[in-house]
Amino acid sequence: MSKNILVYVDHFQGQPLPASWEAIGAARGLADEMGVGVSAVVLGSGIENIAKSAFHHGADDVLVMDDEALKDFIPEPYAGALSSSAREAEVLLLPTSGRTRELAAMVAVDLETGLAPDVIAMEIQNGAILATRPIYAGKLLTKVICKARRPQILTLRSRVFSKPEPDTGRSGEVIPLQAELGDVKTQVMGYGKAETGVSLSDAAVVVSGGRGVSNNSGLEPPEDITDEQEQEIWRAQQGFKLVTDLAEVLGAAVGASRAAVDAGYVPYAIQVGQTGKVVAPDLYIACGISGAIQHIAGMRTSKTIVAINKDAEAPIFKLARFGVVGDLFEILPALTTAFKSELGK
């Protein structure tokens, strides 16, 4: 496995991130060009099935460390194991997630090598990977290269590289990974409830609401809500119900603009934008979102954007492939019904 391309398969409690398979697909392309193989690394506890899937998506062999001590993601032991497996590799690719940014960061320190996070394009130049990554919230792009040191570590942005079709006939050698996990100083005490349904970063469709979702003065809040701000939040929640209804029919993730989060309508966990999550779904439906730069930074690379807004001059329409000018409190239910009948639900 020396001089190989190594791909870290990120998962949450045994559920692999689809972006892990995108990374294997991207690795396959590079490996074929460089004339090397693709190894996957899976760390965790009870993860045989993930190793199988790694073969199906294009790995030649899979390094597995199945250890009770790796049951929860704790960066330090994970980094220890990954560093020891990556020492001889030419390239280490990871899908980008909250976990892998930290993991890649630590492995880069362990191996004193270069790291390019959140990469959106790669090409080979004189034997090294010339990567492209967004900076300044996507206003600019920069090329990044790690010429001398190895492995070159890159994390790949979700949904940018295409996911290979799984070939269930593929298989290969599972290599048990032996690594010193060291003295683990931290302990996972438990998990809070998930604040989002469908994961925003992986979703093929995202339906987002903005400040406009509270824009319905015709709705009368219950009498016990007298505070003006609370009345606005109540109206917004009625609006977000319509956003959620549409999302449900489409199996979509629900997002929000910073304006909606700052106004207290929805939790920060679903904020899309410069200071929130970056998404790149096939379809992005922006409801009552004007299209501030802050928001656009988080969704501009969506394949198709649909905007629904009262204001025909809203900047969001400059990005949108399709637009509807009108009241989202009327349009959204009609759109949900139309999708239901089209999709046979």
Partner: protein, 260 residues
């Protein structure tokens, strides 16, 4: 409790950023404290108010890169230190993390290091975990709440924000925590704070001063930077006699274009 907050000076996020001859320009937009770092400074000040101690802000950059530190002082930080050295020109995160961790060791007796989740300019989000790794201290990344901290018993418990939900983790101090926006509401600098900060002498530390004598070489170079291609879309406005017609027409168009 001795708290160090690592901060960065960045252009204001509202700035129009352009590239000319390979140089990044932001017009006359002001340089500010990286917005994510405001949350880290605020958290340090809140912890100091409860547990006492000292808040030191640490930044790295050219000799005039004092804007972020001044804002942190104006918010209420006790002292500010700027790391500046010709050997840090063109530093990547590997080099930055080495310099910051050496400075933290040089300060000595630190209980907690705070970072914002990332900087809004280079947006790597890896410096905090890299500093933790170099120091051999636990890293708590993307923290939305410090649930408990016990400076005497040297313990900390936090809530991390993963994409899938929150993870509750505990561990020992000293440790490195990078924070997300949900953790607090940063205060505005007071008038007195701004006056104090404007008069403050910010010490500048060289690499030799913090005991780094080896040459620090970046692993990464940036051969080219350019503006993102502009997304120009001709928006097709979907119309109809009733909202039901509009809904049906939009779905039809999305199907025709094979969006779904």
């Amino acid at each position: 409790m001795n708290i160090v907050v690592c901060v960065k000076q960045t252009p204001d996020t509202a700035a129009t950023v352009t590239v000319e001859d390979g140089k990044i320009l932001w017009g006359d937009a002001p340089l500010v404290l990286n917005p994510w770092d405001e949350f880290a400074v605020e958290e340090a000040l809140l912890l100091k108010e409860t547990h006492g101690g000292q808040v030191t802000t640490l930044s790295l950059g050219p000799e005039d890169a004092t804007e972020a530190l001044k804002l942190a002082l104006a918010m209420g930080a006790d002292q500010a230190i700027l790391l500046s050295d010709p050997g840090l020109a063109g530093a990547d995160t590997l080099v930055v993390s080495k310099a910051l961790s050496a400075a933290i060791v040089h300060l000595g007796d630190v209980d907690l290091v705070l970072f914002g989740r990332s900087s809004v300019d280079s947006d790597t989000g890896v410096t905090g975990p890299q500093v933790a790794r170099r120091l051999g201290w636990p890293s708590f990344n993307l923290v939305a709440a410090i649930k408990e901290i016990d400076p005497d018993g040297k313990k900390i418990e936090v809530e991390r924000m993963l994409d899938e939900g929150r993870q509750i983790v505990k561990g020992p101090l000293p440790s490195v925590v990078s924070v997300v926006k949900e953790i607090n509401e940063p205060r505005y600098p007071s008038f007195m704070g701004i006056r104090k900060a404007s008069k403050a002498e910010i010490p500048v530390w060289s690499l030799a001063e913090i005991g780094v004598t080896e040459e620090l070489a970046s692993a990464i170079t940036w051969p080219e930077v350019f503006a993102s291609p502009k997304v120009e879309m001709e928006c097709e406005f979907v119309k109809g006699d009733s909202v039901d017609d509009i809904g049906a027409a939009l779905v039809k168009r999305l199907m025709e274009e094979k969006v779904l």
